[in-house]
Amino acid sequence: MNKTIDEEPRQYTVTVFTEDKVGMLNRITIVFTRRHLNIDSLTTSESEIKGIFRYTIVTKCTHSLIKKVVDQIEKLTEVLRACYYEEDDVIAQEIALYKISTRNLTKRDKSMEDIIREYNARILDIEDGFIVIEKTGFKRETQKLFEQLKPYGILQFARSGRVAVTKPIEELTDYLEALAQAARTSNKIRNWKLTNVD
């Protein structure tokens, strides 16, 4: 029976935990590339546990595809864990920096001060000729601010990848314990196989 359902692509957040090894990012992105899947954003940093890195990857695809992609990532040696989350299951933020020319700063109807207050943004730096504004939030929020600031002349704009934590409660430390157990079981089966040759 084929239960293949045609589904609409949706946004997924993939989190991957890996050992600290050269080339991991490459090996993870290859899984996306092979499926002709675009990565919308990607952030990596060391996790709460030293020596374990966390990748947060946002992509858009169908549910059946994200499942397969995550399975293939988790299969990679040195990947400890790969999961995907629906939008409701993650708490995520992105940081955006806007470099604005000071030339038009006072010529607009709405004052810069009002905009900064309204968007809960802040001024990071003031230099001769430009200011730098910082805003943390959802992509739609940083994008809205982008539109507001556009008339002032945005000299540069940079938005980070998604920084996310997940709602489901299984934490990495618990999972590491499960992995250690799995490795022990695996070894037992391996030894059984080595001694039980037909």
């Binding site: 050269v22 080339g23 799995a182 391996r190």
Partner: protein, 564 residues
Amino acid sequence: MGKILGSQAVVKSLLEEGLDTVFGYPGGAVIPLYDSLFDYINEGKIRHVLARHEQAAAHEAQAYAQITGKVGVCIVTSGPGATNAITGIANANMDSVPMVVITGQVGSTFLGTDAFQETDVFGLSMPIAKWSCQITRPGDIADSFAKAFYIAVSGRPGVVVIEITKDALTHETEFHYKKAPVLRSYAPYPEIDQENIAAAAEMINNAKRPLALIGHGVLIARAEKAVREMLEKAGIPFGMTLMGLTALPSDHPLCIGMLGMHGSYASNKLTNEADLIIAIGMRFSDRVTGRLSGYAKKAKVLHIEIDKSEIDKNVETDLAVHADLKTALSYLTPMLEKKSNKQWRAEFDKFYKMEYEQVIRHDTQPGEGIIQPGEPVDIISRKTKGEAIVVTDVGQNQMVAARYYKFKTPNTFLTSGGLGTMGFGLPAAVGAAVAQSQKPVILFTGDGGFQMNEQELGTIIQEHLPVKIVILNNSVLGMVRQWQTMFNGGRHSATNLINPDFVTLAAAYGIKARKVADRAGLDPAIDEMLDLDGPYLLDIEVDKDMKVMPFIAPGSTVDEVKLC
């Protein structure tokens, strides 16, 4: 213990893993490694098989691994040595064969500078290997090798590529080796879930028309006996994938033939009549399933598989047992009810008869006209009593060998399944002959594929290997031509070959050879080939218009399989 050179650490690592045979080709970046091998080779502690091309060296190591059950080891230099080996790496990995490929690399201070013979092998191999690593310090050699061998051979096996910079080989290090290190990110043998096994047993016990699909995983898990017991107890008819052939004897009463595109008529016709598909150590390749939307429509699917990412990848399962096969069956088989499913098994016979009348008889015993490629396969199958090691290239030669050789013993068939690499045959036959000398090694190849790695005739004479080469010579690229005939209105674009005289070519290497173009000459030539204690090349002129049938046309479903 004192310090040793990095290159010596590599050799010691190989010895720690119990390896006595390596395949390879030296070059600038691995000269230090070959220097450390020198004494071991001279003292007969390590056999080094010098291929004539790195791709061939990799295929040879793969075949050696499949026949011996050990990890195949292949040593190549940096740059072109490594890129030449890429096809062999991809091929072995696609077919889940354990192999460790050691490639040289420029000195670590030259990395990334486009130095002479520098290629990013580490990066290049990532998408086609189970694991890759780059060693830049001699102190990392022991740990990396222990990890590499463990990863290559455990779970679903595959290829590990180790790139070593030249300075890591020439500097000194301490050496402590610990085999099969525990890795927290890698648990190749999953825990058995008893409830899951019970559910699988119930599914099988409730089935009225079960069909088992036997894949390469059965051979890899060394579960041939366990699978046989299971199938015989529950009376389950089974088909074998191309890579799963030999897991059980071809003439087993429950065997309904090979699966897939050129598999048996019966297995394809009745896949869609089964009420339960039990996939055992196989991955539902597109060559097995045909069009997925019309695959196994009336069946529930039970998938027993060690690689979790294969479960639900191509065919959605109703129940999956994620486990080592042998372990899983040790729990599953006792829970199965004894059955014979005689009536269901008998349904396959009708289709076999149709296939025999319309395809098999003509393929193997046409009696007149130009020799059919199936004829020598059939004769050799009978003369060797199904006990030879059969190697194929890719294409029509591969399919007729797979279809008409009657296998008796596990792991006696070597072919390029997943990647479909033309040129695989001759080097694989070399590897098989290096691996053992009890069984004759018989290569069925086409004239096209043979010429893709024919330089390995040199390896055959240097290593004194009694490889029997059967060229099913139709002077065309037969399989592509068949498709052109069937789907491109007979426009045979770029599939004609002007060939050399293969007998003269063999003679240049001092290999005995004979050309046969008439049926009467076939039998004596085959006798001469099999009786000779040494390599032999038999060039047989066969029908270029022969089509491999049955055939599931691309885009068709399994039950749309055609006989002509």
